[in-house]
């Protein structure tokens, strides 16, 4: 069978254009391989294969590939593929967008206290502030910023969780703080994150509102990086806080707090990032809806 198919494929290359668009010859692939008694079994298959790989403008007729799976194209005349599945998908997306907009807290993003200027570039945002000649820039990205909730363990511990009590989705992005002094060649860069405490979630599930015992945010790494450079300089020494002297760590945290990156900032950043992420999600759904319906 394989040998005959491969021969059919190699034969397809030599088939002339004039015979390609004969609707009669175009058979569903599954049908052509099953109906071995059909004298056109090999040829229709090879045509189908040729048609699929051909990008000519005359390709108005698209072969039906998976008709046995309910694949029914719906034509709107735009030249794109539309299936019943796409239609259902589009309807689903419309409902989903409506629901997401209902729960959207506000159309505008929450403001950060402390005079931070916000610059957005898609999913990436920068918060910039200048204090006595020092420039502080906080950069974060809402992509991959929603931590996994340990819902399975929590639900097992608590019993069946009511669908009405689903927790709000919160975006807690990693963020990078760059502190640049005037006329300096290097910036002091802090890689920060929101610690995830698995034990906290399980404790909360068992005991109700439990006690978190992690700092609101933590510094992971500190490094001097060339000022203005986008690329991370791998050869610059990077201090990892995992095994750092705790007194030094506290000094670094105080340093950040003096520049406005403190627990208040960290809490407000979560609010901002959550709102941004939700906004981007809705926008994505809208783009997806438009793409699915008609491109």
């Amino acid at each position: 069978m394989l040998k005959s198919l491969s021969r059919a494929v190699s034969t397809a290359v030599r088939i002339s254009t004039s015979t390609m668009f004969s609707a009669r010859a175009l058979q569903p692939l599954t049908r052509s391989t099953l109906c071995s008694s059909n004298s056109g079994a090999i040829r229709p298959f090879s045509r189908s294969l040729w048609m699929m790989s051909h990008n000519g403008a005359a390709s108005v007729y698209r072969p039906k590939l998976f008709s046995s799976k309910g694949f029914t194209p719906v034509s709107c005349g735009c030249g794109s593929l539309h299936t019943e599945g796409d239609k259902a998908f589009g309807n689903f997306l419309s409902d989903e967008i409506k629901e997401e907009k209902k729960i959207q807290k506000s159309n505008t993003l929450p403001k950060m206290s402390g005079g931070w200027e916000l610059q957005q570039n898609g999913t990436e945002a920068k918060l910039i502030r200048t204090i006595s000649g020092e420039k502080v820039t906080v950069t974060f990205n809402v992509n991959n910023s929603i931590p996994p909730k340990f819902e399975e363990e929590a639900e097992q511990a608590q019993g069946q969780k009511s669908a009405e009590n689903e927790p709000d989705i919160v975006s807690s992005p990693n963020f990078v703080v760059e502190v640049t002094k005037q006329a300096a060649k290097h910036s002091l860069v802090f890689d920060c994150h929101y610690p995830e405490d698995e034990a906290k979630y399980i404790f909360q599930a068992i005991h109700g509102e439990g006690e978190e015992e992690s700092d609101i945010f933590a510094i992971r790494e500190v490094s001097f990086q060339p000022e203005g450079d986008v690329e991370w300089k791998e050869t610059a020494y990077t201090l990892n806080t995992d095994s750092l002297d705790w007194a030094l760590y506290d000094h670094l945290m105080d340093f950040l707090a003096d520049r406005g990156v403190d627990n208040t900032f960290a809490d407000e950043l979560i609010e901002l990032s959550t709102a941004m992420e939700h906004h981007e999600y809705i926008k994505f759904l809208e783009d997806l809806s438009g793409f699915v319906k008609c491109n």
Partner: protein, 168 residues
């Protein structure tokens, strides 16, 4: 390990390094450097919740101590066999509560926090103030600690144990 310091609140601007340094001085005075200690700074909401859960008092307070060793004789240091047991426990500092008191009395926040921490450490070491006798014993210990602290640092801290405001 040493002192695990956590700041879970955003109401009071805390100087972590300063608090840690003061706590290290207290540990040195008491001779408890080899023991781990947790100091967790929380706001009124959190300390009130903990106070309610563990002491059935639904109100904020200045400090709550959770000793690792619950039956210590006052002032007798534990002699654990294993490294894991070199732990005195955790102190929750109600920094918002303390700050409000400092504002009313025009006192230095970090100074009072250090006095409060000394009080909390005494509780971890078995001191209580439920009876008159216990209160006197604890006041004596706290006075000693803070006198030594003031000698080292030139500051003028006073004991918290003036009134019995909390248990450990």
């Amino acid at each position: 390990m040493g002192v695990v310091l956590r700041n879970l609140q955003n109401v009071v601007p805390l100087r972590r390094a300063r608090l840690r340094k003061d706590v290290e001085t207290l540990r040195h005075i008491l001779g408890i450097q080899k023991f781990d200690l947790g100091v967790i700074c929380v706001d009124n909401r959190k300390i009130q919740r903990i106070n309610n859960i563990y002491r059935k008092k639904n109100m904020p307070t200045d400090v709550l101590s959770f000793p690792f060793y619950e039956e210590l004789r006052p002032g007798k240091l534990p002699c654990p066999l294993y490294r894991d047991e070199l732990n005195l426990g955790d102190i929750f500092l109600g920094v918002e509560y303390v700050m409000k008191q400092c504002q009313q009395q025009s006192q230095d926040l970090h100074g009072i926090l250090t006095s409060v921490t000394a009080h909390g450490i005494c509780h971890l070491l078995g001191y209580r103030h439920e009876t008159e006798e216990e209160w006197k014993e604890m006041l004596q210990k706290e006075s000693y600690i803070l006198n030594e602290f003031n000698r080292f640092t030139g500051r003028q801290l006073v004991p918290l144990t003036k009134k019995c405001s909390q248990d450990g």
